[in-house]
Structure formats: C-alpha cells, structure tokens
C-alpha cells in the first residue's frame, strides 16, 4: 500500500517540493473517503481543510433561493478544493458535494498555517504553488464570464456580416 507521503508526491503541486517540507505537509495530511451525495463542506461552515481529489467528482454548488443548489463547477482527479481556510473570515463560500464516491487527501489548514508561521520558506513555497492554481481557476472563471460561445461571438464555423 502506498504511503500518504508518496501520494502527496504524485500530485503536481508538490513536484520538486523540498523533501523536508513534504515531511511537514505529511504531518498535516490524511486520506478520506466520501460517499456519493455526501457533502465535503457547506456554505457558512468554518473552513478548516484543503482537499486534493484523487478519485471521483466533486461539485461546487451555490445555493439560490429560486433554484436551490446550482452546480457552478465540477472538479475531479487531481483538482484541489478549498482555499477559504487561508483567509478571514475562514468560512466556506460554497457547498462541495461528492457526485460519486470520492477519495481525497485532506490537509488540515490550521496545521499547515502553523508550520508556515514557523518556517516562512515553507509558506513561500506553498503560497507560490497555491497561487498558480488560484490564478488558473480565476482565468477559467473569467473565460466563462465572457460567455465565449454566446451568439454574436466568433465561433468557428461561420461568419455572417451581411
């Protein structure tokens, strides 16, 4: 059976991560299984953990009074969920629901923050990597905001200016 440490190392976020810091992260991590339809977290709850999905699909949902929960993004193998433990007020802004049975590596945010406070070099390494992912997520969100496939945009097969 693979050690948790090895599982961490297989994720791109920890590619070329210094050995001593992997040990530090390992001390704050564990594996967890979620059943289909089980919630990883709910909007408004205290945000404590970061989830690295290893298998399965998790749907991020926003609750609307008119439509109930609306899925705004689905994340799968290799994706990371949960940044709210990094910033005040340390509450989840969305619901996260397992769409299928899900296996995740869970990182304890408070434990990670403690280690980063003790060793700013670790904090710098981690934040650099987290920021890359957040930037990708922001770019994807902006792309969806543009509504690239909407009528009026150039869409590949025809061009009718007359």
């Amino acid at each position: 059976m693979r050690q948790l440490r090895d599982l961490l190392l297989t994720h791109p976020i920890f590619h070329d991560f210094p050995e001593k810091y992997i040990e530090a992260i390992n001390e704050c991590a564990w594996e967890q299984e979620f059943l289909a339809d089980q919630y990883l977290f709910w909007t408004g709850q205290e945000a404590k953990f970061l989830y690295i999905i290893r298998d399965g699909t998790v749907s991020l949902q926003a609750y609307t009074p008119e439509k109930g929960p609306v899925a705004i993004e689905k994340l799968g193998n290799g994706d990371i969920i949960g940044w709210s433990w990094l910033f005040p007020p340390y509450k989840w802004h969305l619901d996260a629901k397992a769409e299928s049975p899900c296996h995740a590596l869970v990182l304890d945010g408070r434990c990670i923050l403690g280690k980063c406070a003790d060793d700013h070099e670790l904090g710098y390494e981690l934040m650099k990597r987290f920021n890359c992912i957040m930037l990708d997520r922001l770019a994807a969100t902006r792309m969806r905001l543009i509504d690239v496939y909407a009528k009026g945009h150039l869409t590949g097969s025809n061009y009718d200016f007359i």
Partner: protein, 270 residues
C-alpha cells in the same frame, strides 16, 4: 468562382440556434473534400457565406454543413426546406493535418460550433482508426442544450478506443456531466505529449487557453493546429477581406499550424 446549384436534401435542427443542411448537387456530380475545408454557400437574392463542411468525407453524393444563425444570410438559410436550392462553390482552404497525425495520439479540442469543422476529421479518424494511437476529444458548450451532435458524441463515447470528454459552462438541474472550461480538461486528458498532435477549433480566447495548457503538457507549437475564422468573401485569396497578417485565412487557412499564427493572435484588430 461560379456557384453551382445544389438542392436541400434534409434539414436537421441541432440546437436552438444551429441547424445542419444536407445538400446534394443538382447535376449529380460527385463532390469530394478534405476535413477542415469549407464551402461558400450562396442564398440567391440574400448573400453568400463561408460555412465549414461538417459531413463525412467518405460520402460523395451529398454534403453536410452545420450553420449557426448569426445574421441575415444564416437566418434566411434557416428557412430552407427539403427541395429548396442554393448556390455552392468550393471546397476551399487548407485541411486538418491528418497525415501528420498518423501513428500519433490526437487531441481534438472544440468549443461551441467549433466542433462542426472538426467533425469530418473525427469521422475520418474513426474510419481509419488503426492509423492512429490514442484519440481524445475534448468538447465544451455553453449549456447542455447547446451540445452539438449529441448522438455522435454518445456513439463515440460508447466506442472503447476513443475518449470523449464534454463540459459545459453552465449546468442545468439534470446535467450530471462536467461543468467548467475546455482548457482545464487538457490537464487530465490521456495522451502522450511527446507523440501527439492537437487540433483546435473554437473561439479565439478558448484557443489561447487551450494552447497554454497544451504547452504545459509539453506539446510544441508545431504539433498544434488551429482553425481560424475571419470575414471571408471570395474564398480564394483575392479580395483581401480575410487577410490575417501575411496570410489569407481562406487560402492559407483556415487550418494553420499554431507556430505560424501565434504572434498574429496577439495583434488587436482595428
């Protein structure tokens, strides 16, 4: 330059604003084309528009064009019914580089109606499956109702040797599939970047982010091909309407190696 008369054999409504016209030549002559090429379709008394061919390249007695209603001509084309006539000239343009993809993995990245110009390539790949290694289709649409060729995609998904991944920008209550943008699917797509060719068609912003992800996976520019779109009029590189830097999209494209157009994609049009 003279359009030949063709007759509408069948009209198929694909989505709320997209339809496919199956056309047959009035003179009965066989018609052949290469995947990625387009025709100029002329609606008598209304106007002419370039439309990619979306049918099977193996079929020579009829051709398919998938059209999105985006203006006067395409709106009027949407009124065509079986037996109606229209003018057609073509095929024009450079095709998808299927020969360069032989013995390699192929990653097809399509967004919205960008799947239409890629459909002939897909059909050709399926018909000659043993010439290629892994085939991955990544397709993004606005909503589940905007997914083009749903039956084709379902059929391809059921085929064990082609991997199809579909995502939408906005899900609906009964949509159980992926929600997100197409470029993000590239990260997990099962292909060997050291031995792959990518073909991309969709909005330019999608092309931009898709190439970025392909680069991250290690795919070099010269293995990435994109289909460009500009305002084409003559279709043969004479009028200059579709000039794109030193190229005419109708003649030198619409399919370009990304290495040739990368810089041009960053130039803002006046």
């Amino acid at each position: 330059m003279r359009p030949e008369p063709w007759r509408v054999k069948r009209v198929h409504k694909d989505t709320r604003d997209t339809f496919s016209l199956e056309l047959e030549p009035e003179n009965g002559d066989p018609f052949s084309f290469l995947p990625g090429q387009f025709n100029m379709l002329y609606l008598f008394g209304t106007g002419e528009v370039p439309i990619s061919i979306s049918g099977d390249p193996g079929q020579t007695d009829a051709i398919l064009h998938t059209v999105r209603r985006v203006g006067v001509v395409t709106d009027a084309m949407g009124q065509l019914r079986k037996g109606h006539s229209l003018g057609l000239r073509g095929p024009y343009g450079e095709p998808w580089p299927l020969d360069q993809a032989e013995n390699k993995d192929i990653v097809i990245v399509a967004g919205g109606i960008g799947l239409a110009p890629l459909r002939p390539a897909l059909l050709s790949i399926v018909a000659n499956r043993d010439k290629y290694q892994n085939i991955v289709l990544l397709y993004g649409a606005r909503t589940p109702d905007d997914i083009l060729y749903r039956k084709d995609l379902e059929k391809l998904s059921a085929q064990l040797d082609i991997q199809v991944f579909v995502t939408v920008d906005r899900g609906t209550a009964n949509w159980r599939g992926s929600i997100g943008v197409v470029p993000n699917m590239i990260r997990r797509a099962p292909f060997d970047a050291q031995n792959a060719v990518a073909m991309i068609c969709g909005p330019e912003i999608m092309i931009h982010y898709a190439t970025k992800e392909l680069h991250r996976r290690g795919l070099p520019d010269e293995k990435i091909f994109v289909s460009m779109e500009r305002n084409m009029k003559c279709g043969i590189g004479l009028c200059g309407h579709c000039q794109f830097g030193p190229y005419f999209v109708c003649r030198d494209g619409p399919v370009f190696p990304y290495s040739r157009v990368e810089k041009l994609l960053q130039v803002r049009e006046a």
